[in-house]
Symmetry: C2
Subunit: 233 residues, 2 copies
């Protein structure tokens, strides 16, 4: 009750969570109907609905019309990973951020990427290599292919001052993305730019983004050895 004596949807939500966690309502339990809960808590059905809906969104309960609301047996826990702009991650650690454009060329799309993005192999792309430093130590190596068709203005963009990631984000609001994480051994390029011996295990993140079914860019970001990505829930 954070308002004048009324039961808030948060109170309902918290009480339900409590009953589940304390074992009053074990896994699989069918909970009372919205009407019954509303009566018990002395609030409107809409309030209970809001609380239970939120719990359903978080995967705590499962709701079905007519069947009712049930405590989830296998809570599909999902961790949220925030894909931040590199500069922000670096600055968050109170380190000094530095960016460098290493390579820039207009070229034909590599066959493997053409296949992946479903583009003809004659398609032109902008191929970029960049480095991101934290306190002048290698932080991330970025390799990127940009679909010029989808973002023609990139031809005039100055990518020396601002990184392509920040530039793209401010210009093309993408709608869908697909992300891969994996571990690889450093190849020649990586070894050179990340100042590490060839074969060193490094953390790699690949992302493909689309703007309404039109591929925009594919980027491969490789972090310095020892990098840990973390999240909590």
């Amino acid at each position: 009750m954070h308002q004048s004596g009324k039961t808030s949807f948060q109170d309902v939500r918290d009480e339900v969570i409590h009953r589940i966690q304390s074992g009053i309502w074990p896994q699989g339990t069918l909970l009372p109907t919205e009407v019954e809960l509303a009566e018990e808590f002395g609030c409107a059905r809409a309030t209970v609905n809001r609380a239970l809906r939120e719990l359903a969104e978080n995967g705590v309960v499962d709701r079905k019309r007519k069947s009712g609301t049930r405590v989830n047996t296998a809570p599909v826990k999902q961790a949220k990973i925030e894909i931040a702009i590199v500069r922000h991650s670096v600055e968050e650690q109170n380190a000094i951020y530095r960016y460098a454009l290493v390579h820039k060329e207009i070229t034909a799309i590599p066959p493997w990427l053409a296949a992946q993005l479903d583009l003809p192999i004659t398609h032109k792309v902008m191929y970029l290599k960049c480095m991101h430093y934290a306190d002048n130590r290698p932080y991330q190596f970025e390799e990127r292919w940009v679909n010029i068709d989808a973002v023609p203005t990139i031809l005039d963009a100055d990518l020396v001052e601002t990184g392509p990631n920040e530039w793209l984000l401010s210009v093309v609001p993408f709608t869908d993305a697909q992300i891969n994480f994996c571990a690889v051994g450093a190849d020649a390029d990586l070894s050179e730019f990340l100042s590490t011996p060839t074969g060193t295990p490094v953390f790699q993140l690949e992302r493909t983004t689309w703007l309404q079914n039109k591929p925009v860019t594919f980027v491969r970001m490789t972090y310095h050895p020892g990098y840990r990505m973390s999240t909590s829930y």
Copy 2:
């Protein structure tokens, strides 16, 4: 309008998304007030509220009392990673799942873990090593420390048939978790169990879970070489 001629909160939400994506409301735009939008769409204010609230939850817009609703400049895109039970991930690939308990012992907590979990170094834990196979090929090596205090019943659990992860999930509903991803080179154990040369880059996921501030378990899961974790949004 999916009901009899009424404007649903989804219609409002979709239209707002459309206006943002088509550039009618560029980044940073202050959108009309809820009342104004409700008038425009011919629906109740609560309906507009629901739509905008959902967009705010997804990070598309930013809402502040008195200021209004603004199109987010730096959309903090967050990818959701589903932390599924290993068996399910394997079965999803139509592979045959097999599990093996490799090692099980009650021991004093290792100092580094005691520090990490804020437990006394005299604390007893159960230390487990397990292997998960897909079609009889190594899939994941699991190394786990369980706080016996938090889960005393684990002493009687048969962990030979069911893996500790599934057992724990069905018994202790944890409340908080912290996850780390990183890339490491295979050490002796990993090399042996994952059938790969020492030093091979492998993808590792560490997770600590708590039940109301009480540490439950720390697990380190290492995937076979070449494993890719993927997600989309």
